[in-house]
Point group: none
Chain length 422, copies 2
Amino acid sequence: MKVEVVAIGTELLLGQIVDTNSSWIGEQLALAGLDSHYQTKVGDNPARMEEVLRLALSRSDAVICCGGLGPTQDDVTREVIATVMGVELVRDDAVAARIETMFASRGRTMPANNLRQAMVPVGASTIPQQPGTAPGLICPVGPAPNGQVIYAVPGVPYEMKEMVEGTVIPDLIARSGEPAVIRSRVLRTWGTSESGLAEQLAGRIAELDGDDGGAGNPTLAFLASGVEGLKVRITAKAPTEDEAIAVLDAEEPIIRSLVGDIVFGVDDQNMEAVIVSLLAERELTVAVAESLTGGYVAGRICAVPGASNVFRGGVVAYQRDIKVGLLDVEDGPVITEGAALAMAHGVRRLLKADIGLATTGVAGPDEAEGQPVGTVCLAVAGDEAERSATVRLPGDRERIRQFSTITLLDLLRRALLEGRFD
Amino acid sequence: MKVEVVAIGTELLLGQIVDTNSSWIGEQLALAGLDSHYQTKVGDNPARMEEVLRLALSRSDAVICCGGLGPTQDDVTREVIATVMGVELVRDDAVAARIETMFASRGRTMPANNLRQAMVPVGASTIPQQPGTAPGLICPVGPAPNGQVIYAVPGVPYEMKEMVEGTVIPDLIARSGEPAVIRSRVLRTWGTSESGLAEQLAGRIAELDGDDGGAGNPTLAFLASGVEGLKVRITAKAPTEDEAIAVLDAEEPIIRSLVGDIVFGVDDQNMEAVIVSLLAERELTVAVAESLTGGYVAGRICAVPGASNVFRGGVVAYQRDIKVGLLDVEDGPVITEGAALAMAHGVRRLLKADIGLATTGVAGPDEAEGQPVGTVCLAVAGDEAERSATVRLPGDRERIRQFSTITLLDLLRRALLEGRFD
């Protein structure tokens, strides 16, 4: 069953509001195993709204229409849907009474405008959930049982969500007659390029797609997430949730065996959360000395609830004399792995941590110590073990600082997994 | 001139990524005075992508096509556009060389896959800006001068933005032949609510709109930007750029006189950039002691090019014993303004700065020292002057840390403007 989403509102086209509603609805449709091939944004213009709705009905079985149900003159979704249905609008007294009660309960009298919200296309039914003044509508188009349907829900996110979860999705699943569920799992990676990942997984993707080249089960997809790395999404379709999850559980180890230890986390698990839990498991504490990252490394670690169990603190040694005076770095060039290691050991001693981390390098805009912009030295140092690296990072000042941060955290992750500090 | 936006990517339909690109592009089109009536999201499916592009060309003069330019097999935007143009794809050696150089500069060899990104439709030209490996494309459809055009830009936001600002919008304005120039100026504020700002400016907005209730010149709009505060955008339309800027220059002081010193910056001037220039003008240096913000304050100051002239460094004193041992904070409760002031003076002395900044408080999830989540103490301390504040901030752990950061920077801004440290 194909379901299309239409978001209505000129403010969406003007970029004054980001349309998060369509994304959320798309996610719910996918989880319900309902296909959704198009999402359209259109302004509060009756002619264009009608054109978009007719197009959607020409290629999908159902349309979820979001927004334009308010009380003002430019809220015309009700009128447009009635036109597409070929019916009139009639006043629904039950809805009118409900709206009047809402205003009364807030000690206010209902503006006459709000009665527009009680106008319902003939043959449409209202959605029982109604957290706000705008009623949601179920609008059949064409004769049952094979007719199509337009659902109208408000653009206010919490009102929309209550109606979509409570009525629209269950109604769609009932109409679709095929109770399939879709579940997906995201493996988060750091340290390879999208094309490199694609090459590692090309064979597996071909296997899954089968000879017909059609989408197999599960399917694999890549999501580039900038400074958060690359994500591999495994999506499984099955009659029940348990079976879908079984498919994911079977596929995950296959993918991991193909891509290796670049996988650092699963689903919402970001790099800093992984670091904090790895340190906690090993009962190790960490401290950070930062030059070009200027606090980003410490800032990300502290973003994790419970960081206080493993994070001692940090020093932002932005000036040379602080590296030398406070962290015992030898006076001399400071954009070297040696300096990074000295900073890491220095902060480890100063803040009494098991492990010290350090960054030093050239964020730009100008080069430094004859080193080009993007040259970054990273170090992880413990009492008896240490690791360091020099990398060349692309992009502007901000991206270089962000990439340095996650690259250092990944260096620590690998060292911890290798048992360097056990 | 009508311009339509098409966002490509199955992950957008599945709601795994929110399509912020289309919103941003829509905003740029509006600022340029270009009409945009539809935005469509479609998955990585050649047949449906072609259908959507042909539909867009049937009702708009130009199409901005966002995404699907990556190196992997499911990035098929290049192929689909070539089909719509009715031409072949040819390898662009200059682009291929540019991509190879990018990999080389990072000490990596280019995966063969990336050569897909050098394939360009016959008759298309590449967009000069190319921050990543994906080249943007300008693809004429139909004979000039009245032909239509499809612009292809990557889905990676920073790559897309550089291309749209640098080439797509100017090219569209040139094609539109519209004499009118639209320029806008954003006044960035911190420290008031949207409704408060609306009340302060209601009278002026009414004046500008005039009796007809239509949009006047200039127009005012509010943009809520979360942790970056509230923005007041002044937009002027005039025959020439000089005249448009004259309108902005005349309006800006009127707005400032109405809202007062909550305006901290203009256009892209963020809080940290303002701080760094205020410090540089006064030849003052600063150091930061951070507890709950854990490096965010230092990290934002270091994000400004030239920060090294005014920023000494920082200490992330996440643990009590570091506050006491390294910053000379009295042992006792540390979520107090007194502790914040002690931290500020301590870091100022330790890192030899003119001014010390400090944050201490409860980011959550749990309360601390009997103080509820969101309680934050901030301090700014110089040799002879000091200021401190205790605030109750809303939101989750991350928002509390972000709001603490900009609130402290604004406290420093006001102190500097009041000449506290001159």
